[in-house]
């Protein structure tokens, strides 16, 4: 691990937004926005440079403080992390641009809004730190950074509903992190190391490892709002200001997923069983159906979108049963691993773009109409064509229709499902698609329906609509570099690896 090329980028990727966030505190409201915007651009630029660096150098590391693991902490930027960081940068820049216009348009409605910028940059630093982290405890700190910033952003509007939702979110986040930390404690106690790579080598199966897995998995699932722990997500995401909702859905929940994915594949392989993967799959499948159905039943746009996130995260969970190999199957012979990983990564990216666009569009609509009850959507297609188009395109990507990124994800997911012979997930995937189509086109149908009485629309800055539309288009454009992106991802060790589950009896059978 430590013989990989060293690069300053991992440290800078965390440090720079952190520094800029701190810096922005010194400025007035307007200055915060300017610093925040410039900071977003700088961070994104840095992310892209770092991405390019990884494409050329392969995995790079940064040994913090010069102390090698296990004593010290090591930042590792492999292609998977690079892709996540790059996605964060792209989506982040658009959201920042949007947020600038959004908050300026309603400057006087809440005094908390200027704090968006430092919090968002802290959040960004936390996300980058999480994607780069290679240390169990450091991961805890980063998810806490993310959690506090995310909740703070979620209650930015200061409204009652937002506060309730924020507290619920915060308590859930703390519960999740504490459960995670309990697992970390046990793992540290049984191995004396926190470094993921080292743990992958030294972790022995046993009741302690199993128990650590048992608390870490639901803990992280609470944080990523996997079914049945999605209880905090719809209220929190729906009551936050639009750019924040976009951030929360597009990026924040992906952090916990990323950790879960890394831990399962890199660390806990020794004590995982095929059935455990199936359980996560069941949770995912139920999330897909339940979330989509709930979204379909909602009557306000942001709630629809928020419930839709629950479902879309379910698709991410469906990757796990594919990664855990049945006893007797080796990773070399399992040809569905690569599709499964591709599905996961693409689902993350496509959902990030699409959901961000969706929420930003919802924000535009709220700005224009003053509310987001969908019965007032009638004739919106004629009055706000760009926004409706953005919603439509984002929706199409969520449904997974070609040629969107969501299609790429579902394609690979189904491919993995069939290749692995676990066909029983297919109905959930497709049923979710259908239900997604139902609510997306319910919106479209209303948008095209004639208005009984036309409510006056307040003007919305044109560029906000452009940003939303661009993000929606982005969820389609990401399919273009798919081949090179997958090749790039395959340079990562973890990408395409499977979890060779223990043959029988679990840890207790090995005694």
């Amino acid at each position: 691990m430590t013989d990989l090329p060293t690069s300053p980028f991992p440290a800078l990727l965390v440090g720079l937004p952190f520094l800029l966030a701190t810096l922005s505190l010194f400025f007035s409201s307007k200055g915060k926005a300017v610093v925040g915007l410039i900071g977003s651009f700088l961070t994104a630029l840095l992310a892209i440079v770092a991405f390019v660096e990884v494409t050329q150098q392969g995995t790079v590391i940064h040994i913090l403080g010069g102390w090698e693991p296990p004593l010290g902490i090591l930042l590792r930027m492999d292609s998977l992390a690079a892709v996540f960081i790059g996605m964060t940068a792209l989506v982040g820049v658009f959201i920042s641009l949007y947020a600038r216009g959004y908050f300026r348009a309603q400057e006087d409605s809440s005094e908390g809004f200027p704090l968006f910028w430092p919090l968002w940059l802290f959040l960004w630093a936390g996300l980058n730190g999480l994607f780069l982290s290679n240390d169990l405890f450091n991961l805890f700190v980063t998810i806490e950074v993310i959690g506090i910033c995310a909740v703070a952003l979620a209650v930015l509007s200061g409204k009652k509903a937002a506060l309730f939702a924020g507290l619920r979110y915060l308590l859930a986040a703390i519960t999740g992190s504490m459960a995670y930390l309990f697992g970390v404690a046990l793992i540290y106690g049984s191995t004396g190391t926190l470094d993921l790579a080292l743990l992958g080598q030294v972790l022995e199966p046993g009741p302690t490892t199993t128990f650590a897995l048992l608390v870490i998995t639901p803990g992280l699932m609470i944080k990523m709002a996997g079914f049945p722990f999605h209880f905090w997500l719809p209220p929190a995401h729906s009551s936050a200001p639009a750019p924040v909702s976009a951030l929360l859905s597009a990026l924040v929940v992906k952090g916990a997923f990323y950790i879960l994915l890394r831990l399962w594949t890199e660390v806990f392989g020794v004590s995982l069983t095929f059935a455990a993967g199936q359980l996560i799959g069941v949770a995912g499948a139920v999330a897909v159906i339940w979330g989509s159905w709930q979204a379909f039943m909602q009557t306000s746009l942001k709630l629809i979108v928020a419930h839709s996130s629950v479902a879309q995260l379910g698709y991410l969970l469906l990757v796990f049963p594919l990664l855990v190999l049945a006893p007797g199957v080796t990773a070399d012979s399992a040809d569905w691993l690569s599709p499964a990983w591709t599905a996961g990564v693409y689902q993350v990216i496509a959902h990030a773009f699409a959901k961000a666009s969706f929420f930003l569009s919802a924000g535009i609509i709220i700005m224009a109409m003053g509310h987001d009850r969908i019965e007032s959507f009638r004739d919106l297609a004629a009055r706000m064509p760009m926004t409706v188009m953005a919603i439509g395109l984002a929706g199409v990507s969520l449904i997974g229709l070609p040629p969107s990124g969501g299609f790429m994800a579902k394609w690979n997911l189904l491919q993995g499902i069939f290749l692995s012979g676990q066909w029983w997930w297919a109905p959930a995937v497709l049923g979710g698609s259908l239900l997604t189509a139902s609510y997306v086109f319910m919106l479209m149908r209303l948008a095209f329906a004639p208005a009984r009485k036309k409510e006056p629309l307040r003007p919305v800055p044109f560029r906000l609509q452009v940003f939303a539309l661009l993000l929606a288009l982005g969820s389609f454009l990401i399919i273009l570099p798919a081949e090179s992106l997958i090749q790039f991802l395959e340079s990562s060790q973890i990408f395409g690896s499977g979890i060779e589950s223990i043959v029988e009896g679990g840890v207790y059978g090995n005694d």
């Binding site: 040629p403 497709l430 259908l434 189509a437 086109f441 479209m444 329906a449 004639p450 081949e483």
Partner: protein
Amino acid sequence: METTSFLPLLIIFSSLLPGTLILMLREDQSALRTFLNLFGAVAKVGLIAWVFAGYLRGEEYGFILPLAPDLAFVLRVDQLGLFFASLSSVLWLVTTLYAIGYLEGGKHRRRFFAFFSFCVTAATGIALSGNVITFFIFYEFLTLSTYPLVVHSGTDKAVNAGRTYLWYTIGGGTILFLGVVALFVVAGPISFGQTEVIASLASVNPTQLTIIFFLMLTGLAVKAAIFPLHGWLPISMVAPAPVSALLHAVAVVKAGAFGIIRLVYDVYGIEVAEQLNLLTPLAVFAAFTIIYGSVRALFQDDFKKRLAFSTVSQLSYISLGVAITGVLSSAGAIVHLVHQGIMKITMFFAAGNVAETYGYKKISELDGIGRRMPLTMGVFTIAVFGMIGLPPVAGFISKWYLGLGAVEAGSYWVVLVLLGSSALNAAYFLPIVYRAWFCEPEHEAAPLRQIGRLETQALLLIPVIVTGILSLAAGVFAAMAGSPLSIAREIAEKLYLL
């Protein structure tokens, strides 16, 4: 594969680009919009003609854009694809003209024409797709680009129709998706025409292949409006006449039927399909749809609804032809793709003309309309005869081949179905003709529009006459080199020589 050429891509872009540009125009820039539209339409016809000529010279055109490992966006030109592309592009040109006249002064024309262009983009994309995945991409694109057209008028009825349309098509698309992925998993990336891949697998896992076949078939059957998945088609007739034309003749239902042709001939291959006994259910369902659609049509008083149920019935001829093995029935199926298109588009144009000029939407109102709109109703009558299967209109040719093919294959019951359908066609179409020509109107109505010296506006009249003449010519000159039939025969013969 063959040399990469951007011509196929250009064909796609010849309507995609105008569509996008139109979307960016302002609503009132109608001259520029019309120019873009017509330019795109003419360019597309020209390009396809050019490619067709090149293809006949033996040149090969293909365009590949790799998306992911084993997953490529492939456009490839083959005869069947060109055949369908020609149909779509020519009819699109005609329909564009018609739509310009039809929607004159209407609302949301920018949106309409943009999606109109997207729709035909998808149709040509389907035609030129080189593999299953590309086909699927365009297939779904078609679904989406048609939706704004279906709900164009924005009435509650239209919007509800759009909902039903989407339920069916998205549902079908989902099942098709399942099939496509499963096929990909079982057989790897399959280009159209690579039937040997499936052939080599047919003995290994026949059950899987059978299931996949029916999954894909179900998905395609939605657009091809095979019972019981036809429900969206009659409901969608609330759309404006040019859209109905597009739905029923140019793009949507044709995409489904074309997909079935591709599935059977170019993915599975006839031998495998026979070997696994896949075609009998298709034949049965298609046959039932033919009769069912006709019976339903019999009870409709709404002009367009009757036409819509007629489409349900007529379209299944294609599937039926595919389901019967033999050169003749295959040729019949393939040629019906075109014939049904030109005849049905004529009918919808005629219905649209009547509705636009006099406001008549019910068949019971059509007494004596033939006297007032002789040209429109004249070509309508021609199309009716074609639908019944009477010579020398195009419909006869396809029915002739289908019947002959059925007899050749020993499927005598199919002949009975064809006969029954002909009788029913006569039963529901001839009353229209009868009312138009041989009944006296109860009261003289004044036209709704300024119609000038012609019986209706020129832009409404010319397209219908053109398609009417085409449907007559396709029958009369069927044996001529370059006629739809001759091409279809060539395609079919190639299929069976392989």
